[in-house]
Amino acid sequence: MIRRALVFLATFVALSFLALPLIAIFARVPPGRLLAQLSNPLVTDALVVSLKTTAVAQALVLLFGTPAAYVLARRRFPGRGLLVTLVELPLVLPPAVAGIGLLATFGRFGLLHTSIPFTQTAVVLAVVFVSSPFYIRQGIAAFEAVDVNLVAASRTLGAGPVKTFFRVELPLARGGLAAGEALAFARGLGEFGATIMFAGSLPKVTQTLPLAVYAAFDVNFDVALAIGALLVLISAALLLTLKWLTSSSTSRFRFALSSSS
């Protein structure tokens, strides 16, 4: 009896701890005032920056990440395991380290000597760096799950490698790829640490929604809460999309780690 009560208590504490901050965002300020704050220029400017950079960044993730995931899933070559680990490293890297690494690469005195830092391009690069591993890792698992016999069948039926990719492998990996992209999108939208170090927090240029929360909370706590509420809603929508994608019967993808061998 006591043991049962303790289990319930622990569960209650854990769930409350996770839920309360989210509830607080909406409870502190009445919905009407939250809505009014959304027309604040600080919010609208940050929203525009976030939408623009996210759109470009995710387009890049899809464009370069899909072939990368495919090659890592289908080809067996020496050093493949090392490459897969390299792809996964940014997942566990502290964002500040990502920021300093990007500066060391693209900074004026960095490896490539560019003037990218503190521009909108820098925001895009930071987001791509931290979010693409989510997509690529999931993409590898999704492509690996496509039966090689189906690929062989397609080839014998007269389809070359390109047609086989677009008509068989991509459609069958779609569920897993979409789920990976949803994760990457969410991670990119919330990106803070690498962006503030590599791109700064210039309003209208590099100040994204998470950076705006940080900038606003010194000045106007209500505005910070309004942006917070907006991000909670977007994140919840993404999470629901992800759950729907992973549970739909047509997607045969596994939420598993890709094998690194």
Binding site: A153, T156, G158, G160, P171, R252
Partner: protein, 332 residues
């Protein structure tokens, strides 16, 4: 008539697959699993590259062509239907659908997804899809293995009729000798990457090249030491019994006797021209209107009526008799 000519070597994990074979009508490759049968089909389809030799169709060298450059219709063992495409879309993937759905009796299934089909239906869709490719050569990998016993006999006769109607050079792979014999004009026995014998099903039974081929075709295989005596060869079996054969051989041999050449008696009839083995009745299995009876080391096949007349019961004693002319001696 156009034909497929194979002459290649393909290194596999445990051995090298080495094959020289001309396929004009239907050739079945049979053999134990792991003998390299499927690898042969993969080489013909261009899915595996041989280390040496050529694959040619009608004088056209296919060896360096990618799979999509060869006109082969490959029916995979698990059928490999595209799960995201309907039956019609699966067939259309390879080329114009035309009357293929009607010909293979799958028109009512046109809009069904492969996940909802039975084994027999999948097989017909896979065949229709392979034919939509307008193939010059047909490759069938264990076309009947995924089917249950009931479906199998019907699908087998349908498939046999279809193959005859198509008249394409066809290479099919199976581990079941009966399937091979009923579908193919020629049967090749493949063991450890080598073709042990290539012959018509009748020839394979009449004169098996070796003990393995004989046992694969369903024959009884006994072991003994042969010794020439007069016009017959006398063979002393491991158990001490003696049998006679009209074949010539000396030393260790395999003795091949087909079940339908063995008759059963309850009492010993003394007849020197007849080989007689006494044994306990091990099993009595009815197959249609025939009965397979195990007597000691030998399996006999008799009609149901004679089985009933002989009152064959497990545990009883019976005599298996077979003629010296029906006793073949093969190298081990």
């Amino acid at each position: 008539m156009a034909h497929l000519l194979l002459d290649f070597t393909l290194p596999l994990r445990a051995f090298e697959l080495e094959l020289r074979l001309a396929v004009e009508r239907t050739v079945a490759l049979v053999g134990p699993s792991g003998a390299g049968k499927t690898s042969v089909l993969r080489v013909v389809a261009g899915l595996a590259a041989p280390s040496r030799g050529t694959v040619a169709y009608d004088g056209e060298d296919w060896t360096r062509l990618p799979p999509e450059g060869r006109r082969v219709g490959f029916v995979f063992q698990d059928y490999a239907l595209f799960p995201h495409l309907s039956v019609r879309a699966n067939v259309a993937y390879a080329g114009p659908v035309g009357d293929l759905l009607d010909r293979l009796n799958i028109a009512p299934l046109a809009d069904v997804m492969p996940g909802k089909l039975s084994g027999g239906e999948r097989q017909r869709v896979a065949l229709a899809r392979a034919l939509a490719r307008k193939p010059d050569v047909l490759l069938l990998d264990e076309p009947l293995a995924a089917l249950d016993a009931h479906t199998k006999s019907q699908v087998r006769s349908e498939l046999s009729e279809l193959l005859r109607g198509l008249g394409l050079p066809t290479l099919l792979v199976t581990h079941d000798y009966e399937d091979a014999a009923s579908l193919a004009d020629e049967v090749g026995v493949l063991v450890d990457g080598r073709l042990r014998q290539l012959a018509t099903p009748a020839e394979l039974v009449a004169s098996p090249a070796d003990a393995f081929v004989a046992s694969f075709t369903g024959a009884n295989l006994l072991h003994g030491i042969a010794q020439a005596s007069d016009e017959l060869t006398e063979v002393r079996l491991v158990g001490g019994e003696r049998v006679f054969s009209t074949d010539r051989a000396t030393g260790a041999v395999g003795i091949v006797v087909y079940p339908w050449e063995v008759s059963i008696a309850r009492a010993h009839e003394d007849d020197s021209a007849l080989n007689v083995l006494r044994g306990e009745i091990g099993s009595v299995v009815e197959i249609g209107n025939r009965v397979r009876v195990r007597i000691g080391p030998v399996t006999a096949e008799v009609t149901s009526s004679s089985a009933a007349r002989l009152e064959l019961d497990r545990g009883g004693v019976a005599y298996a008799t077979f003629k010296a002319t029906g006793t073949r001696l093969v190298p081990l």
